[in-house]
């Protein structure tokens, strides 16, 4: 029986698809062996690839989708100074980042401010992880938006233990400047504005230490020089001070007017191209007159006057945070209709009357998840991208369909909403 020859069909199959490691001279020529081996490997590869693909798809979950950017977009707006501060630092899903910038553009905003935490992108010294900022910056550029990058958030390796990420010891200023320069060098073709630090006149933003205008000036100057070495065309924004009436000697912060003056006295004038201003209106209207003892939107004019006094007349201002809140019970909030009116008036004021201001970017377009606090009442759209009436009203204003007056808003009420 064992000598019985195999049927011809079986023999042929053996010749074409041999075992992987054959014994003996059963293959004929070397070329036939290679062809047969390749076919064999292909036969193995197909199920292996299918299996790997299925596993990868399941692992990626339902969110795995090819993202289609489409053709590059441009902002259409009658007011080129409309902007908004986005909050994409913790947003991991690409489609949400893209949707955010699409909605910003559709609202008629040309400017966005976004935060790029140092700790996230240089987790160990000298090792940069640019995946997330690459995506954010590319998506913003694709929507035709001008992006202002805010840098801060100290990695744990650059500060003592048991300190917060806003604590940067003086001996580490050079490390931060190196990060700022690396950022500027990488994105110089897409990011033309960089803010150095955030609200350094508040203790909580200075590592819960007493605030120090001289030390902040030293940090600003180091970062300025480092950025200019690699990307001289990138504009460096200094300041970004919190509007506060903190009394002298307060452990919580320093009056922003006092802080800016001490910055100038420390030589900060040579270390920034644009002053970043935070202009919150709290309960006052957008057009309420400024006063040193009042926090309102036009306090920006007092900071501007200080710049002029120190000879910085040619330097512009960008309002990189600000606006109004419409929480139902917070004592610093206004009613939603007031918020809409004041925001439109502020956009209009910056555009028509403040030729020294480039843009107004109120806080904040959207949060990746609900803050479950008064912070949610600063937003323009909800977490699930439902537009709030303020978003729709700004869009109408940007298209020239709505004037920033209460009469026009009342018309909107009569039409059952915008």
């Amino acid at each position: 029986m064992w000598n019985k020859p195999l049927p011809w069909s079986r023999r042929a199959k053996l010749r074409v698809i041999p075992p992987l490691f054959p014994q003996g001279d059963v293959w004929g020529s070397r070329g036939a062996f290679l062809v047969a081996s390749l076919k064999h490997l292909l036969r193995l590869a197909v199920p292996v690839l299918v299996t790997v693909g299925v596993i990868a798809s399941v692992a990626a979950g339902s969110t795995w989708r090819p993202l289609i950017l489409g053709s590059p977009q441009a902002v259409k707006s009658i007011n080129p100074k409309i902007g908004v501060h986005t909050r994409l630092t913790d947003e991991v899903e690409p489609w949400k980042i893209l949707r955010t910038f699409e909605m910003v553009r559709e609202m008629g905003a040309s400017w966005v401010v976004e935060y790029f935490p140092w700790w996230y992108y240089e987790p160990t010294p000298g090792r940069y992880v640019w995946d997330h900022p690459d995506m954010v910056i590319n998506f913003a550029a694709h929507q035709g938006l001008t992006l202002i990058a805010r840098l801060g958030f100290v990695p744990d390796w650059a500060r003592p233990p048991d300190t917060t990420p806003s604590y940067l010891p003086q001996e580490r200023f050079a490390d931060f400047a190196r990060y700022a320069a690396a950022f500027a060098a990488r994105y110089r073709d897409r990011v033309s504005y960089i803010i150095i630090w955030n609200e350094p006149n508040l203790s909580q933003e200075w590592g819960y230490r007493p605030v120090d205008p001289v030390a902040y000036t030293a940090l600003l100057c180091q970062a300025y020089r480092a950025i200019k070495e690699v990307a001289p065309e990138v504009a460096v924004l200094g300041g970004a001070l919190a509007p506060t009436l903190a009394p002298p000697g307060s452990e919580w912060g320093m009056n922003d007017l006092v802080f800016l003056e001490q910055m100038y006295q420390a030589g900060a004038g040579a270390c920034f191209d644009i002053l970043a201003v935070h202009a919150y209106g709290w309960t006052e209207p957008a057009l309420a007159p400024p006063a040193p003892d009042a926090i309102n939107f036009r306090r920006t004019e007092l900071l501007r006057a200080l710049m002029v006094r120190y000879g910085d007349t040619a330097k512009p201002v960008i309002i990189t945070e600000g606006g109004w809140n419409d929480h139902p019970r917070w004592t610093k909030a206004v009613r939603p209709a007031q918020r809409v009116l004041y925001t439109l008036q502020a956009y209009d004021l910056v555009w028509r009357e403040w030729d020294w201001a480039l843009a107004f970017t109120p806080w904040v377009f959207r949060f990746p998840r609900a803050a479950q606090s008064y912070q949610d009442y600063f937003t323009f759209v909800t977490v699930d991208f439902t537009p709030k009436p303020i978003y729709l009203a700004v869009g109408r204003y940007a298209r020239g369909e709505l004037r920033p007056t209460m009469d026009d808003l009342v018309d909107i009420f009569r039409q059952s909403g915008p």
């Binding site: 139902p328 019970r329 004592t331 059952s416």
Partner: protein
């Protein structure tokens, strides 16, 4: 006469044998159970189940949570030692907390903190601070707790501890007490009053996607929304839980749109304090103290 030697070993064997015979009826079940157990051990799944049981009990008794449960609670011990409970709050959210003209912090949360402390026989020290710093202050144990209209946040449960909710401020659809509407579906053709631009407005627009025939009645404030309900210009309205509670005399809740449960926030190590707060909140609820506090701070009877 030669005495026959006694076989002591044999006697002992007989004795044991007799005892064995006597005990046999009792030992047989034990032996049977032993044999069954041995046979069960030969089955892999039984072994796995037993190992899992032993492992689970071990982890339950000695795992991190168990150790935490058995561990001391320094926060609660400090409260007991000093007889002072330090509570942080941002007095900017009336009627939960506010500052009077003479600088006193008053509100529902203040009275709630005092009522809880009174149950424990300790004093309350109110520490005023910004809302954004409250959670950090609790985490760093700068305060023993924060009571400041703080909502439960599931993403912070590894950083701080939350009590059971003591108030829900989420958004509601409300109707007058005499309204014929009994469910959300009845609103299909209703006139729905909302404050323009508010979260209620956003909810109304969502509802209109579901019931396109809803007619929106836009008003400039929650008071105007309630006025529209009272005057008959609207059939229903959307307000938050606080406004709904404040006007419970005139309106009833038809449908809960969202929840925003307010809780007491405590340091993560304060597991005993958490248990005490939860127990005391339940006690206050049963005794009607919470209802009294709500009446005091939310009822608008005579205020409108």
């Amino acid at each position: 006469m030669k005495r026959t030697p006694v076989n002591r070993l044999g006697l002992l064997a007989c004795l044991v044998d007799s005892i064995g015979d006597l005990l046999a009826p009792f030992l047989l079940p034990v032996q049977w159970a032993g044999n069954r157990f041995r046979s069960l051990l030969t089955r892999r799944y039984v072994v796995i189940l037993l190992l899992g049981l032993v492992g689970g009990v071990t982890i339950g008794m000695f795992g991190p949570q168990a150790r935490l449960r058995w561990a001391a609670d320094p926060v609660w011990e400090r409260v007991q030692t000093t007889q002072v409970w330090r509570v942080g709050m941002d007095p900017s959210f009336p009627p939960f907390e506010d500052v009077t003209v003479d600088g006193q912090i008053v509100g529902f949360d203040v009275d709630l903190a005092r009522a809880i402390a009174q149950e424990w026989g300790v004093q309350v020290e109110l520490i005023s601070m910004g809302y954004d710093g409250l959670i950090d202050a609790v985490r760093a144990e700068k305060v023993d707790a924060a009571i400041s209209a703080l909502p439960y946040d599931p993403l912070l449960t590894q950083d701080v501890r939350f009590s059971v909710p003591y108030f829900d401020a989420g958004w509601r659809v409300v109707v007058p007490h005499v309204s014929p509407f009994m469910s959300l579906g009845d609103l299909a053709t209703a006139r729905l009053a909302v404050e323009w631009g508010s979260e209620g407005d956003v909810w109304a627009r969502r509802l209109r996607h579901r019931y396109p025939t809803i007619q929106l009645v836009l008003r400039m404030s929650p008071a105007d929304v309630l006025q529209a309900l009272q005057s008959g210009e609207a059939d229903a309205g959307i307000v938050d839980g606080v406004v709904a509670r404040q006007h419970a005399r005139y309106i009833r809740v038809l449908h809960v749109l969202s929840q925003e449960p307010y809780v007491v926030v405590m340091p993560y190590r304060a597991h005993r304090l958490q248990a005490q707060v939860n127990n005391t909140l339940e006690t206050l609820r049963v005794r009607g103290v919470l209802r009294q506090l709500e009446s005091r701070w939310f009822d608008r009877e005579g205020q409108d």
